[in-house]
Structure formats: structure tokens, C-alpha cells
């Protein structure tokens, strides 16, 4: 699949995410218990852990969709703290345009077509040359043949590819991926890994949660294992993630 020329020539970004004693409760359930993580700019972090370990909550909090019950989430640009995420400021705008999220759901409108979905978000992020950007993104994820049909008619893998294309449309520098490989076939996985490799080369910070092995994990520079809402194991910014990644089984 061809790589749009504009995407390779982008300047490197340098935004990190740090969590300070973050705690999140849903009623009497604790999804996260005093999690502290310092993720530097340009790191590729694999978030591991069983279901219910708090991976999704951590990602949603980094996406500013959720406020921590205690503690804080900060975005750092070098040594400077860009903006602190505190309660009653749920609508933080400035870091928003630098964040891209692939969630559990597709975050797409089923009744709209692929083009309409991407156009909507391109416009909301105030991108220039909306039509060109959207066409390039659709070419890139290999959906240019189906641009006119509603997302409802897409297969699971196609939806996931479109969801990834949507999240990366505004060229974010912090990329949050929640089980992004779910539903992708072999071909899709290869495309996805190549896409992630390009993003990593561009200097993006990536947080990817997963519980199964796939090619994209080879890119990880750090692995963090969560269990019961705590950081159980962390290979650290300079450490080797392979020991933590080894026990993961390949996706069936």
C-alpha cells in the first residue's frame, strides 16, 4: 500500500505522559490503585495484564475522557508540564489535538460511510485539505474500494482498520491503542505493524494494551504489566521488555 508523501516528512514530536498516584474508582470497585508511570516522549509502551487489570481505564484517562478519582495525569513536553488534568476541567482542549485513541468500540458512526466518518473528524480537528487527507488515509488503510458504503456493512477487520485510520487522521503525537489488533486478519496486522513502525520512527509516544502476541509488539521499547489496578511489573524506560513479553501467546 502506498505511503502518502506528506506523512513521512513530518517533524518529530516530543510529548510524554505521566501518571502520578492515579486512582480511579467506579462506586466501590477500584479500577486503578495509585498507579505512577512516567512515560517519556517517543517511548513505545506495551500495557499487559489480564482482563480487568485496569488497562482500558488507564488509556481512557490518558485520552482525557475520564478524570482520576485521586492523583493526576500530566502531559510533558521535555521538562515542561503542558497541562495538568484536574477535576472540573474535563474539557482540556490543548493536549486534545495531540492525542489519538483506538478504543474498544470503533468510535465510528455505523450509518455514515467511510468517507463521511473520516471527513467529519477531519473537520472537527480543523485539518487543511480535508478531501485529500481523507483520500490518503483511506488509500493507506486499503479501504478505497469501499468508501461509499456505510460502515454498518463492513466486516470486523475493515471496521478496525477504519477505526485506526480515524484515530491517526489528525496526526497525533500521543497514540493510545486499546487492543488495536482485535479483529484484524494477517494482511491487516502486517499493515498495522508497518504503520506503527512509521509512527515510532516519527517520534510518537505509543501506549498499546494487548493480551495476545502479534508483530507490532516487536516495536515495544518498554513493557508495563498491570494487575488488579496496580503496576505489577515495569521494564523501565531503558530496560528490555522482552522478558515480560515472552509469556504472551500468539492470537488464535
Amino acid at each position: 500500500m502506498p505511503v502518502p508523501a506528506t506523512q513521512t516528512s513530518s517533524p518529530p514530536a516530543s510529548i510524554g505522559v505521566s501518571f502520578h498516584n492515579v486512582e480511579k474508582r467506579f462506586g466501590s470497585l477500584a479500577a486503578l490503585r495509585s498507579v505512577s508511570l512516567e512515560i517519556g516522549a517517543g517511548e513505545f509502551v506495551a500495557l499487559l495484564g489480564p482482563n480487568g487489570a485496569g488497562k482500558t481505564t488507564l488509556l481512557r484517562m490518558a485520552a482525557l475522557l475520564m478524570n482520576p478519582t485521586r492523583g493526576s495525569v500530566q502531559f510533558t513536553n521535555g521538562p515542561a508540564v503542558v497541562r495538568e488534568c484536574v477535576r472540573a476541567q474535563a474539557f482540556l482542549v490543548r493536549p486534545k489535538r495531540c492525542i489519538g485513541l483506538v478504543g474498544h468500540s470503533t468510535l465510528l458512526y455505523d450509518e455514515l460511510t467511510a468517507v463521511e466518518n473520516l471527513t467529519l473528524f477531519a473537520r472537527l480537528y480543523a485539518l487543511d485539505k480535508v478531501a485529500d487527507t481523507v483520500t490518503a488515509a483511506l488509500d493507506d488503510c486499503g479501504l478505497s474500494a469501499r468508501t461509499g458504503s456505510p460502515v454498518r456493512t463492513f466486516s470486523r477487520g475493515m471496521r478496525q482498520r477504519l477505526a485506526i485510520a480515524r484515530a491517526l487522521l489528525h496526526r497525533p503525537s500521543v497514540i493510545l491503542l486499546d487492543e488495536p489488533a482485535a479483529g484484524l486478519d494477517r494482511h491487516g496486522l502486517v499493515w498495522f505493524s508497518a504503520r506503527l513502525a512509521r509512527l515510532k520512527a516519527d517520534g510518537c509516544t505509543v501506549l498499546m494494551s494487548t493480551h495476545a502476541r502479534n508483530e507490532s509488539l516487536d516495536l515495544a521499547t518498554r513493557a508495563v504489566a498491570l494487575a488488579g489496578g496496580r503496576v505489577e511489573n515495569d521494564s523501565g524506560p531503558a530496560g528490555d521488555p522482552r522478558a515480560l513479553l515472552a509469556p504472551l501467546r500468539a492470537e488464535a
Binding site: 479500577a31 489480564p50 480487568g52 485496569g54 488488579g228 505489577e232
Partner: protein, 243 residues
């Protein structure tokens, strides 16, 4: 504990005195006789209700601004106590109206408005019951309480405008002009006594809510420590951590 007991006893004494004054000291009303004595508690209830709803409004705004749980607790206490006062008022009203006006209920401006007020805050309590997540429950119900409070003056204004354009023959208006001096003294005593009762119940309800929050907090701590004991192993207890 002792201070609270003393205060409760004092308020009980006060409301007893108020009841005595309303029943035996206040002079007999010329046309309505004994039934008019319901007036002292009927009016006092409305007064207490407005105070309680004002507390609820203030607490809701404060919750949204500060995000502190105690304001949410105060808000729900205010609404609950206000609804009780409103219910008492709505029950004593028809009891008084039946012998005097000859009807239980009329679609008069004040009655209608108050009925809508009651419905609004019942809806508030219903809303709280139907939202699971405590944080969401607190913020969304605070939003509803603010909207409802803004609606109250509009409801009264609309009803007043509406009824002046369609004059109803049945109502001659409650007491109207010139209360007897003894009557107004008794009325003041009753207003104060019922207000104190309302305040006492409100504070107790607030304490109860705070204790519930504290209890949930302690339960949570115990659960956390339980998890610490198993830390590191993927036991079923860990799976409950929920996303």
C-alpha cells in the same frame, strides 16, 4: 452526642410549645373557627420547604464548582427534607380547603405551582435512583436540581399571569389583610419551630449521607488490603478489579 441530644430535646420542646400556642393561645378565627388553626403549620411548612430547596440549590452549585462529595450529600438531604415539607403542605392544604372552600383541590396558581414543584423534586429523587455510578449520579442530579430551581420562579410567574387572565370565582384568597397581633405572634413562633425541626432533620440526614460515604470508603480500604495480601497472583479476587 450529648449536645445533639440536648438540641433535639430543645427542638422537641419548641415544637410542642408551638403546637400548644396554635391550638389554645391563638384567638378563634371569625368565619372558619377551629379549622383555621391548621394555618399555623401549613404556612410554616411552606417556609421550611423553601429554605430546604434553597439549601439544595446552593449545595448543587457548590458541588459542581468544587467537586466535593459533602456538597452532594447536602444537596440530596435538602431535596429529601424539602419534599417531605412539601408533602405535608400538600396534605394539610386540602384538609383545610375542604371545610372552608367546599372543595379538596382547585387549580389555583399557588396550588398548581407547588404541585409542579413537588413533581420536579420527586423526579430528582427518581433520577438519583436510576444512575449507578456515584460520581455521575452526583453531577447529573446537581444539574437537574439547578434547572429545577431556575424553573420554580418561572412556574410561579406563569401561573400567576395565567390565573389573572382567567379569574376563578371560587377563591377569595387565604387570610389576606390584617392578622390579629396574637395570631401573628403565634405564627412567628410556629414558623421558627417548624424551621428548627426542618433544620434538625436536614442536618441528621446530611450526617447519615456522610456516614454512608465514610462506610463505603472504609469498605473500599478493607478490600484494597485484601488485594494487597494476594498481590501478584492472578486470583479471582483480582479479576473483580473491573475496568
Amino acid at each position: 452526642m450529648k449536645a445533639r441530644f440536648t438540641i433535639t430535646a430543645l427542638v422537641a420542646l419548641l415544637i410542642f410549645c408551638a403546637g400548644y400556642a396554635a391550638l389554645f393561645i391563638a384567638p378563634d378565627e371569625a368565619t372558619m373557627h377551629a379549622i383555621q388553626r391548621i394555618f399555623y403549620f401549613h404556612v410554616a411548612c411552606w417556609n421550611a420547604m423553601f429554605c430546604a430547596f434553597f439549601v439544595a440549590f446552593y449545595a448543587s452549585v457548590a458541588y459542581l464548582v468544587t467537586g466535593k462529595r459533602k456538597w452532594d450529600a447536602l444537596g440530596v438531604s435538602g431535596v429529601e427534607v424539602g419534599v417531605i415539607c412539601c408533602t405535608i403542605g400538600l396534605v394539610t392544604g386540602p384538609l383545610w380547603a375542604r371545610p372552608v372552600w367546599g372543595i379538596w383541590w382547585t387549580w389555583d396558581a399557588k396550588l398548581t405551582s407547588t404541585f409542579i414543584l413537588w413533581l420536579l423534586f420527586i423526579a430528582y429523587l427518581l433520577l438519583r435512583g436510576l444512575i449507578e455510578d456515584p460520581e455521575k449520579k452526583a453531577s447529573l442530579s446537581a444539574i437537574f436540581a439547578i434547572f429545577a430551581s431556575l424553573d420554580i420562579p418561572l412556574v410561579y410567574l406563569a401561573n400567576r399571569l395565567w390565573r389573572t387572565q382567567h379569574p376563578q370565582p371560587v377563591i377569595a384568597g387565604g387570610q389576606g389583610s390584617g392578622l390579629d397581633p396574637t395570631m401573628s405572634k403565634v405564627l412567628l413562633l410556629c414558623l421558627f419551630a417548624v424551621f428548627c425541626v426542618m433544620l434538625l432533620v436536614l442536618i441528621d440526614r446530611y450526617r447519615l449521607e456522610q456516614l454512608r460515604n465514610e462506610c463505603a470508603e472504609l469498605k473500599f480500604e478493607i478490600e484494597s488490603q485484601g488485594i494487597d495480601a494476594f498481590d501478584g497472583a492472578a486470583t479471582p479476587a483480582l479479576q473483580k478489579g473491573g475496568q
